[in-house]
Symmetry: C2
Subunit: 313 residues, 2 copies
């Protein structure tokens, strides 16, 4: 676990920027590679150390990720940790052949979503995690394998999701060798009570090993859910600059929880992030200019932190 | 306390709509009285029972509240509880002569803000609460007196605010005879740790007597702060439809915490509100049409609650 502890220290909060991946999945106007590089560089200069830079998918169908090699290189040049989605065998192959630091496999919390979204059972998805781990061990032992559990707090197809099932899946992913597991409220169904309860159980399951909480602000609960997660032991939180990232299952909905607001939240709860809000403002300006048709969300960026008070706990 | 307990039951959550007061203070395009009536009626039909309908101020300088008598009548006609700000002796006089159900006096948490905003000391503001109570007792014993403590979680002039001072002021307001005290994060300085800590102490101070938490979403913490307040015993929460209500001390900032999102939050935490989200959507459409230049916020209204899952705890 030593490499994992270097990347995701158990004793502090890590914020992962997922906007360059999740935020671009449904974007209307795709930013240029040059703009994405500038956005990443500005956010890295602000102190962000972890980026999901894309997804290993066919460039013809997913042009937003056609430049994934360039984005991995940009992340590396910025001295930050790069992660990319690997949704099938070909994605895993491509990731292992690339310099990306972290493979992100996805497992659905429900059988219905697993079949509909990835045309495989949950068991087959866990087996794919095991395969990624085995090939990583053989060919690129320095990389991390992340297993993200989609729909972990409610499913657009199946509705309620039993926390017992999510925890069993998390345990199966860890048993398959995943370095880190993520819990995703993919469609923003949860309130803070559900997030807090799931994180408390996940904290107990993982012990000193960190796990990721991935939240969407679809119903305005994003920051409250992040607070509940942090209060219950989560130490790695996904977010996106300006809350980029709509949801295919909730048209017009807001996207990921807003990165800037999460920095303020974490610091106010006594978790230093090492991230400069002024620097995030500069990064946001780049992203906004590069994606003129996109809705950017959040409140902190408008008001800035209190100028005359101690807002860090 | 029996009248108080009828209006603000201690054993359930009450949401107060402050948009017709706080939401109009800085509005660019003022809605017509007819539109405001329709907005209030639609929200009342959705189950909202408590409205701040305006402020007793000179109509020439505050045209947005010139129709306060009509709005009190509209609230009464809807069978809902009406409250209005009374910022000075004349306001108290006017309120007592009107059929409004609740007088809202304002006390600043800091001496600097009290002097700058109301040109009186905090002690004089508490004395004004006592005067409102005495005159109410003599002339209109059915009305409630509410004392709202502005800047209770941080001050645009003084910065940090000691919770000891806020609690001492709350105690002074109660000793002056106020039926209910409100704690306001007027400029949205706080995160959930500060809100939770203050509410825990306020819950201990007030015992079975309810108090109000009034939150602004200036830095995106509104819903998280409301969750912390509810988790620590607050049972009356102010909010405004679409988060209307900018802040004079934070230009461009978002306003009050979003009513629709707070309904979802409260229900998800196991607090039934009796409020129908579809009905709120209809009310919002009226308000949006009446205030075309205004920014409406929130996320729940776009996505709606999960259609296929139990989102109420």
């Amino acid at each position: 676990m030593s490499r994992l502890a270097d990347i995701y220290p158990a004793d502090r909060v890590t914020l992962r920027e997922v906007g360059l991946r999740d935020g671009l999945q449904l974007a209307q106007a795709l930013p240029s590679t040059e703009a994405k590089r500038a956005w990443l560089a500005a956010e890295a200069a602000a102190g962000v150390r972890h980026f999901e830079v894309g997804s290993f998918l066919p460039a013809a169908r997913f042009p937003q990720f056609a430049d994934i090699d360039a984005m991995i290189a940009a992340c590396d040049a910025a001295g930050a940790h790069s992660a990319a989605l690997t949704l099938n065998e070909r994605g895993i192959e491509a990731a292992l052949a690339s310099p990306v630091d972290e493979l992100v496999c996805v497992v659905s919390a429900t059988e219905a979503h697993s079949q509909a979204n990835m045309r495989r059972s949950r068991a087959a998805a866990v087996a794919l995690v095991a395969r990624a781990v085995a090939e990583r061990d053989a060919r690129a032992p320095g990389k991390l394998v992340n297993a993200g559990i989609a729909m972990a707090l409610g499913c657009s197809l199946s509705g309620d999701v039993a926390q017992d099932e999510v925890l069993a899946l998390a345990e199966a992913c860890l048993a398959a060798g995943a370095d880190i597991v993520g819990l995703a409220d993919t469609v923003g169904y949860a309130g803070p009570a559900a997030v807090g309860a799931l994180c408390a159980r996940m904290t107990a399951l993982c012990g000193p090993r960190p796990y990721i909480i991935h939240l969407h602000d679809t119903r305005g609960m994003g920051v409250a859910n992040a607070a509940a997660a942090l209060d219950n032991g989560a130490r790695v939180v996904d977010a996106s600059l300006g809350g980029l990232g709509g949801c295919p299952f909730a048209p017009g909905a807001t996207g990921n929880v807003v990165f800037e607001d999460i920095v303020f939240l974490a610091e106010s709860l006594g978790h230093p992030t090492g991230i400069d809000l002024g620097g995030l403002r500069a990064a946001r300006a780049i992203a906004e200019a590069a994606m003129p048709g996109e809705a950017f969300h959040g409140a902190l960026h408008r008001a800035g932190p209190p100028a005359n008070a101690h807002w860090r706990a």
